[in-house]
Amino acid sequence: MSDADQPFGNRGNRDASIVNPRPGGSIDGTRKSGPTGAAGSGTPFLIGENMTGGYGRGPDILHDCTIAVEQGEIAVIVGPNGAGKSTAMKAVFGMLDLRKGRVCLNGQDITALNPQDRVKAGMGFVPQVNNIFPSMTVEENLEMGAFIRDDDIRQTMEQVYDLFPAVAEKRKQAAGELSGGQRQQVAVGRALMTRPSVLMLDEPTAGVSPIVMDELFDRIIAIARGGLPVLMVEQNAQQAMNIADKAYVLVQGANAHTGTGKELMANDEVRRTFLGG
């Protein structure tokens, strides 16, 4: 139900004395999960295979797109604006309906699961924007990350603080008061609190300064070296490919090039189109 096509437009919704201007949720929390099945042998640790689909009843954005990550690897999705990079990641996370294809994690076919249950199945997802609870303290953000856990979370929290010493100092401060880079660290830390088996980052370096970006990449490498596979969408193609074990170049929602980061960097066509010569 969009406001624009209603007779009274958006009238009334701008009066904050009766309507809270905070945007509501965009994920349909009422969608129930279907059954999971075995993925079959030889499937990668995490794979979105031949994914075709779009948002709601809209046109298809992804066309036969395949994204995979193996244990201990960093895989990056790069491509021009509007190529469907974030959409591909959201499809893996179950935020849009696939018309074709499947998603498998750790030997399980999880195509029918809703996003909440994918988190429980082991996916740690960091959205590009609105990825923290701004009015809550850093510590409470991490606690909320571990909401589904009933065991002792202190050890995981200490690990997150070890990984991000900058935010550890501000654990009692509201997360919304932190700088852009520190917010991203809180966001990644929040996702790590579930002890996921794969970490998915949607443009973690969007809008942060180059120095902070290098620092974030270092942390992400450290996470991957610790054995946690990382799948991420990146605008900064060159730097992303430098650290990637595997890179996917998407163009118009389809796989254009796939290979290790180094192979793609050496590929003339990729260099010319995406890396600026």
């Binding site: 919704n13 904050a16 809270n20 905070r22 949720g25 994920i27 996003p115 988190v119 809550m136």
Partner: protein, 337 residues
């Protein structure tokens, strides 16, 4: 100049009544601000749901009194409160199930929920009047000891000409309000469910992705709001008297309190409640008596009353306008209005 008598007169006629009224408004505004923060709309049915909760508590009080159970010096309604809260919570959850959930599932714009709550307000209003023995009557249901401090005994004790009275209901209002606010803040800041509610009001999508069940947060919000509404309504009814129409009117000062404090901010709701109550009482109180003690030589012509009490709701309006003009986010930066 007789400062002591002036002070006692001030305490007796302004401070104590305003503090009790402020606590009642604060509890009401807390419920409004909670629903605004989490469900994203201003609940116009708040006043009438307060009336319903109070009526349910009154019925339970009569039941207890019929069984011969009383709370000694305290009003029996205090014992009946849990029943009233349970009934109100059930009705409010039922309302959510048949009215608000439909719009939530359709992701309707919040203004539609506001309008739906106006409908709920009318239904709740009718429902309250249909309850047996409630109707449109004015009901006094405070029993037990009437005063903590009596005028006569205070005069004898202090030797002043001015007397001081503290009604049991006023003392009770303040004590209960403090306890409820303490419990609410502890719940919101210390418990996992309370933090989940705050997380949901910060970022619904991320809360969902963290495994927080949105429908559970909504249910919890309604239950807490129902408890706040019933307690606020019962305390108001004990202090004054119960009349369903008064609860419809009290909606304005409650909204004013929530907005003055900063919508969505619980601390602001409490402060706002007291600001509105003190202004209302101070503006409608005839100050001639206090002035007589302070300036014995001065014989004012009138009663030194800025507004007659019939206009007390205008005070809420004026405060509202002043705050919206000069500090749109409220005193405790809530949502910008």
């Amino acid at each position: 100049m007789d400062i002591l008598n002036a002070l006692v007169a001030f305490l007796n006629f302004v401070f104590i009544p305003a503090a009790a009224y402020g606590a009642q408004l604060a509890l009401g505004a807390l419920g409004v601000t909670l629903i605004y923060g989490i469900l994203r709309f201003s609940n116009f049915a708040h006043g009438d749901t307060m009336a319903f909760g109070t009526a349910a508590t009154i019925l339970a009080t009569w039941g207890l009194q019929g069984l011969g159970i009383t709370a000694g010096p305290l009003p029996t309604a205090l014992l009946a409160l849990p029943v009233g809260i349970a009934v109100t919570a059930a009705v409010v959850l039922g309302t959510d199930r048949i009215v608000y959930r439909f719009y939530r599932a359709r992701r309707a714009a919040p203004i539609i929920l506001v309008m739906a709550s106006v409908g709920v307000m009318f239904v709740m209003n009718g429902l309250t009047r249909m309850l047996p023995g409630i109707g449109v009557n004015e009901i006094r249901f405070a029993d037990g000891a009437r005063f903590v401090i009596e005028v006569r005994s205070f005069r004898e004790w202090s030797g002043l000409t001015e007397g001081l009275a503290l009604k049991t209901t006023q003392a009770l209002t303040l004590v209960v309000a403090v306890l409820v606010v303490w419990a609410l803040f502890r719940f919101l800041n210390r418990t996992k469910s309370g933090k989940a509610m705050r997380a949901y009001s910060d970022n619904e999508d991320l809360a969902l992705l963290s495994g927080i069940d949105p429908e559970r947060v909504v249910r919890l919000t309604w239950i807490i709001a129902a408890a706040l509404m019933t307690i606020a309504g019962t305390l108001y009814g004990l202090d004054k008297s119960f009349k369903a129409f008064n609860y419809f009117q009290i909606l304005l000062p409650i909204f004013a309190a929530a907005i003055v404090g900063g919508l969505g901010n619980p601390l602001g709701a409490i402060a706002g409640g007291f600001v509105v109550a003190f202004s209302e009482v101070a503006v409608t109180y005839p100050w001639v008596k206090v002035a007589g003690y302070l300036f014995p030589g001065w014989q004012p012509d009138g009663l030194l009353q800025l507004l007659s009490t019939e206009y007390k709701f205008a005070v809420s309006f004026v405060i509202l306008i002043i705050v919206l003009l000069f500090k749109p986010t409220g005193l405790f930066s809530g949502k910008s209005v």
